[in-house]
Symmetry: D2
């Protein structure tokens, strides 16, 4: 049988809200990165490490990235503080096969925007903490494995269309909000060798990453994005191929 290799996940978080807000710290005493990593580590085939904005080089060194199969990214208010150098390293590794999972406000993060090529910061949003219902649209997608027709979160930030993204290659979830919005909340793309998943849930003041369905999606996403092949060329790309008869 095909060997199940261990998936090495790096969970990145700007980790500033946790320092400045009692509310956020009370919801995520280990930090959002801590809880996302805990949810992922519960899977026997996933190993996690974490990194944050204030680590040297944001924890996104060449060495760290070269040991990463999938990078999870949570950021919200401090996107602009991430250095272009680190962002370019992330992009390079995605192109070479590293998975990238953008969580919640990471829709506006530098690496996600650069990978998409659109103005990904553009969407509707408001923060009353309304319910949300995530509908599973792509029944065949591994990221929806084990999820029912839909699942609900009792409180979440409301996101609404139009969300300015390239048409997803797979549209796994679309969310419903009681205030009248719909939102493409689970979307897949490929960029060069790397697989990318955006997942909307995760406002910092609600305990989203403790939810059982959300945790299942995180694990599924890690497995889906941890694809083994990398783009490679077997010979000089500027030479003509061997002549065929």
């Amino acid at each position: 049988m095909p060997e199940l290799k261990t998936i090495r996940v790096l969970v990145w978080n700007e980790n500033r809200g946790e320092q400045t807000s009692d509310l956020i710290r009370s919801v995520y005493p280990k930090g959002i990165h801590g809880q996302v990593a805990a949810a992922l580590s519960a899977a026997p085939d996933i190993q996690t490490r974490t990194a944050t904005l204030d680590d040297p080089e944001h924890g996104l060194t060449e060495d760290a990235l070269s040991q990463t199969d999938v990078l999870f990214w949570w950021g919200h208010m401090w996107h602009h503080l991430v250095s272009d150098e680190a962002v370019n390293r992330v992009i390079k590794h995605v192109h070479n096969g590293m998975g990238f999972v953008a969580l919640h406000s990471a829709h506006a993060s530098k690496p996600f925007a650069k990978l998409m090529g659109t103005n990904t910061g553009r969407l509707r949003w408001h923060e009353e903490g309304l319910k949300t219902r995530l509908w599973k649209l792509d029944y065949s997608h591994p990221i929806a494995e084990g999820i029912g027709d839909y699942f609900e979160l009792p409180q979440e930030e409301t996101y609404g269309e139009h969300f300015d993204i390239p048409t997803p290659e797979s549209l796994v979830f679309v969310s419903w909000f009681p205030s009248g919005e719909v939102f493409r909340s689970g979307c897949c793309w490929t960029r060069s060798g790397g697989r990318i998943f955006f997942f909307q849930p995760g406002h910092e003041t609600f305990p989203i990453y403790y939810d059982e369905n959300v945790k299942k999606v995180l694990v599924n996403a890690a497995r889906w994005a941890a694809r083994p092949s990398r783009i490679s060329y077997v010979f000089d790309e500027t030479k003509s191929l061997e002549k065929l008869d």
Copy 2:
């Protein structure tokens, strides 16, 4: 400038509810087909004819179809009465370049199901006559031309996911319903030479096809689906091509 040819639309309706229900007849005194045709004919480049289930050969003769650029189809309770012979003629013409617009319950019609290859009858539905809001997801799509970020209908039948369709090539609209459903309400596909559009609004007891936004979408859909080229092969497909050096 490229010539704007006249688009020849045939509007088909099972036209049985109109005979048996005072309510439906009061909403659509000319029949649903009559009102859809009126909405389309208001465009200077569209000419319409109508046909119904009880016409000879359901009005879907070889002659009628060969003079049709786009076939609009409304059906609900009497799908099974449409003959396979007529359905196969419709399919053949779609393959050869005729557009096909499936309205509302035509999701479960024979031609639409055959063109999709899935169990298109499968979706959620209930009929309280709730509001609905159609969100425009594909800003670049000609069918969304002139439509705002979203539009609303004060009363419509509720449709909900999972809608068992192949992934749309373009997802133009997604609908929101107050009872908690989302629905892919404007979807495009291509099948051989023909373009296909499904548009969800149109429950027979509400005056949907009088709505200004709906009428705009109908006209846009006719123009989009009326593509001029047809699949053709210039030479014997079983012969090798001329040898290149």
Copy 3:
């Protein structure tokens, strides 16, 4: 770790050429189905059975299909002899989650055509037994796992565009032929709960299914198409969802 379940494959072949042609029998003494099954069985997680046109009910009984995760299908000259009843059973099982792999001339088979909704019989072809080169276009696709930038087959029937299929959801391989044709030779679609793969190589007079790269693709295709989830609805689809606040 996620359990690797055994994949149950049924390999179907019309198995008539093997009876009537010494050449075909010499290339495939066990029948094409026998060799495809042997190639698949070499994988430790795949179990195979075979069925042929002349078996009772073509070997496609409800019982046989209900024990099948993925159905491989090879057919060429006797598509019309497959009963509509058997075809409809196959379609129903695909809709409910069974994978379907169409090999070579199965592009014109009844089940593949019905699943696609186009005139899949339409393509160019000629039979000089020229070389072919299959280029891997979708680097991220599991079916291309372990395949280089391209691979070659020394002799194959030539297939050429335009191939009348719906736009593939993933275009894994495009083939090059020395006589000037290109062909979409590895294509994926989803239809309801089922995954579908078309793979062009496999003309009956050449030993295609003994080739190492081809065998790798067959195994990858079985694994990709053997998706575990099936479409199901948790509650009455005609009832409104539980009211949200």
Copy 4:
């Protein structure tokens, strides 16, 4: 009838080869931009202007771009000399609805790479001046309007897969080369409000842009990319929508 508005095209060219190579200048005495503009201007609904690398701000001022419906871009050896400021202006206008047509080696240009999010410089190539055959794969696409099953160019630079692009939203052409390569030579994407087309033909030493089929594609591409709508939001995106009952 819908009014046919005039399409304002800006043709950009690095225009350095024309200064330094007698061969290139002999093929394109008016510059590549001059000939592309001439081909486009022959259409009654297209007005053209040109701009080059050595113009002030490369001719890509805010003023110039705001009067442009579609920007055609030819570049090859001097991509790195285009200022990031100009590139960012181009990207902003594409996001807001300007079409962008990348010709030939513009696959590696800064704006195209930024819009794609992949390493678009990665492909095979060699320059013997072999024949090429462009196969029309998407029969329904307006860019293929009026083109036969395929067309040929007697001499062109050879490009080959793997071409490192996001999966095209429409794959209009795939090219065949006698040396054994295939190449996705006509590809469409959408990025925010803008439509993007890549078209491979156009090596500077061959008279590609004088070819009748190529000229037809250029005109079709201008019309396809010149979509009128632009992304806009009708109200404050951070406010909840009007409450529905």
